[in-house]
């Protein structure tokens, strides 16, 4: 078992992830620009810099908001220069594939192994250690990282070479936005024509309309117990984050000259929804309100 772990980025996600590693018996050296963020995590050892957190560890993990932070940390910030060839790097941030590829390639030139391992599952998954990791990098490097990832998550997928984790997560989340908007739209159409949303949901679930949003995250109030829809869409996977992920999808599409009309429209619907209903901090299933404003209490 790897003994020492470095962890940079202790936000809503990174904090509990690092805490779970400490609770599992790892020695976890952490750094965050916000001092209080480090103090809020039990059992970890705050450091005075990212480089310090990366020094003399077996595994180094980062969880940052965007590609420029990741490039800043590993390249300009000196982490790549600080780590030894035995240290395994895992970037759990959700970022653009280009930056992921570039940083992993720079690591490779120094003989250092790196994985991109963006997560899904939200804060609840981070706290409960039930995240899903979508991993890019070499198979054998993933095997080496697996014990550590399994402390933080319940599902681990290998998507391909470096940056493939980012690409797969981006594709998945773009599709998810399409599923959620499409499902909300179909439910609103049915209800406007006299159907009971629970009955329509049941029919479509068992027919060819079945999908994750409909089946396990139903956006219509009153259909599914415990859903975000039942608590006025508070908490959950925020509209702001979905807009961010859709932005990454749009960038990735531009980079590869891909056409993504359904994803583009979902992106704009989410932006219009956020703007017109001030919905940035609501769960992303709140798009149902945009289709059926009279549902708002």
């Amino acid at each position: 078992m790897s003994q020492k772990i470095g962890f940079v980025g202790l936000g809503n996600m990174g904090g509990p992830m690092a805490g779970n590693l400490a609770a599992a018996g790892y020695e976890v050296k952490v750094f965050d620009l916000v001092n209080d963020a480090m103090l809020g995590v039990e059992g970890v050892e705050p450091q005075s810099s990212a480089v310090q957190a990366a020094s003399d560890v077996d595994v180094f993990i980062s969880m940052l908001p965007a590609g420029r932070h990741v490039a800043g940390l590993y390249l300009d910030g000196g982490v790549l220069d600080a780590v030894s060839g035995d240290t395994l790097l895992i970037d759990c941030s959700t970022i653009d594939p280009e930056t992921a590829r570039m940083v992993a390639s720079a690591a490779g030139e120094r003989g250092v192994n790196m994985l991109d391992a963006p997560v899904s599952g939200g804060i609840a998954g981070a706290v409960g250690g039930t995240l899903t990791f979508i991993v890019g990098g070499r198979e054998e490097v993933l095997e080496q990282a697996r014990p550590v990832l399994e402390v933080m998550g319940a599902n681990i997928f290998h998507a391909g070479e470096n940056s493939a984790g980012q690409v797969a997560k981006i594709c998945n989340n773009m599709l998810l936005a399409v599923l959620m908007a499409g499902t909300s739209e179909a439910l609103a159409l049915g209800v406007a024509n006299g159907l009971d949303p629970a009955v329509l949901s049941e029919v479509m679930k068992q027919s060819s309309g079945g999908n994750w949003a409909l089946n396990v995250y139903n956006p219509y109030p009153g259909v599914m117990e415990g859903s975000a829809a039942g608590r006025d869409y508070e908490g959950g996977f925020l509209v702001d984050l979905m807009v961010k992920d859709l932005g990454l999808a749009m960038d990735t599409a531009q980079h590869s000259a891909s056409s993504v009309p359904m994803g583009s429209l979902a992106h704009d619907l989410y932006r219009l929804h956020r703007e017109n209903l001030d919905a940035g901090s609501l769960d992303f299933s709140s798009i149902q309100w945009f289709y059926k404003p009279e549902l708002r209490s």
Copy 2:
């Protein structure tokens, strides 16, 4: 058990449906404007008019292309005037809810029970007797019809009052078009960025991108054995039919002043696909080609 059935409309779907009823031991009186269509079905009794097929039967079933044909048959064509109050009417056509409601209401005024029971499952389902029926009408009328429906289908859903079957099918198929276009788009984006379509499919299936199109009808060639994608999209659920169903969804949305941006875009993508790739007679998963033209052989 009901003994005598009238059946009008013996096309690709109606023919095998009527044949299955005859094979199950019912006496089936049939009519179709195309004489050969009647002769092609074993065990049925061709009639010289729709009214004749509707006379003196316990159950009368219609399977026609569009609302105007259904209104023509029951109202102008005299079937409502010809049937007795004991005859149960089942319209299996996929039509606009307004016509369905109007015809059922005219039947009700004459004391005749009617169901709208559009199907999914395609020609294979019609031949195999494994169709899905989405039924609108009163619960007890559905119970009365159930034995007959069970000869032709494997799943029977009760969506609500008269016309609810049409509405539910329309909502489902609009959502299905969104799922298929969104899935094709996500797969094309992933592949353009270096992912293996089978690996990406597996990741999304087990994550929040899971949906009917991805899981059981994968549009990418080489991912799923036996899929339409594996035979250059021949056969299956045709683009022409999806465009028709999306047209019904658009009409229904207009009727109820509903906003359906994702469905509208799917409608236009399917029309552009049909027009530019001459794809009307291909399976609807061929939209994958529209996203990735270089896949065409």
Copy 3:
């Protein structure tokens, strides 16, 4: 000069149109289901039925809300049977081309000449006699109608054979919706990035972004004096009417298997705008608010 005119449909548009004909010296026999609508127009002669208004006149004009009213009036309502072959029929309603074609064809079978002549210019144009007529029908019939049309309007276009007036108006208004949404979007984007909306408008007007919405109906508050934007989008060409016209465009596209992605999206944006901002009775340039909700006072 034609001496006697029949006029059916005295709403916000039809009322002042009939009034202008009376003021120009024509004898105008009118009918409307709403009695007060007839009494509110000076100089006209109220009748007790549409057929009476159509009897013994040189020109018969209708101005109704939708295709079913027009078919109801001319076919079921008996006007076609009541008029003589010398009466020239002009339907000024904005309706679906199919109905226009069908009614004109039924008139033709009876030897009666008919024009479809939908208008633009709104209530102000109707009151001021400055409407634009887009006319479908034979050239020589239009020439015969011209003196009467010139009393009510300032511009008369000949679009082609019967129903061509409807098609041309539908195409124009679909394009107009695209221009207005696109212009509002470009202005919102520029302002969000620090530009002055008046300066940006001027630049685009003189460049390749110039269009009717930008040039003469600028949707951004404060840019153009006298615009609807300057009075919180009150009055003008209502969102409800634009949604209706876009609905006709969608029907027409379905009928001809045409792809209309930009028009479809504009249709949905206008429906979402109406629903979320309760904007049905606002001028259609209020779509600017949907793009920039903080502009709302």
Copy 4:
């Protein structure tokens, strides 16, 4: 009159622009990574580096493909360090506003004046000296640059402070794409319903559908003499360039959290058009073919 000009980037646009300056009597020192590009322009003085071209000149002009080239030239490439405070910098590239702002700000810190001055008008405009410049930067700096700009262009607009030229051009071109797609769509719809494209164009031009694409760049073959449509869409403003400009618009929208549904859809329609019809090197009015594939010869 400024005497010496440095010019970097002698592609299809930059080459003739530099040539016109030389022809007007300026001493023009040029640099391009492609040696032949420098040799192809008459009257200019090839240099061995960009820094050399920027040394000891009154005005320094750059015309490069993208933001990273501009940042590379002025920052990493050392031009900002090489120029004196008396040199006026003009970047004529079409790039993202963020980079434009950053570079201008870095110039300002060194006491050097800079303008962003993207152009429209294409190769013909560059050759003929009839370009349109949309300028960002201080008014008095623009006045200083005006004599030089007037050699290369016919219209000069001042859009605002630094980067405003880029923003205004991006907004304009996004709107232009919407106009062109919307116009093509309206024309295709009209023709599919029996109208003559020339007659419909005339009607809409004089009505509220009037716009730059319809009025001066009609995309329908046979309507307007000398249009790209008349020569199978060869030459002109290429689809590839429109896709690039729409990409910049999408980036700019993301940066400012703006919703741009019409622009996004136009972006995707142009990408699908390019992909399915191999249309990257056709004029951007060729989108008409995407709506009406049967027009292709």
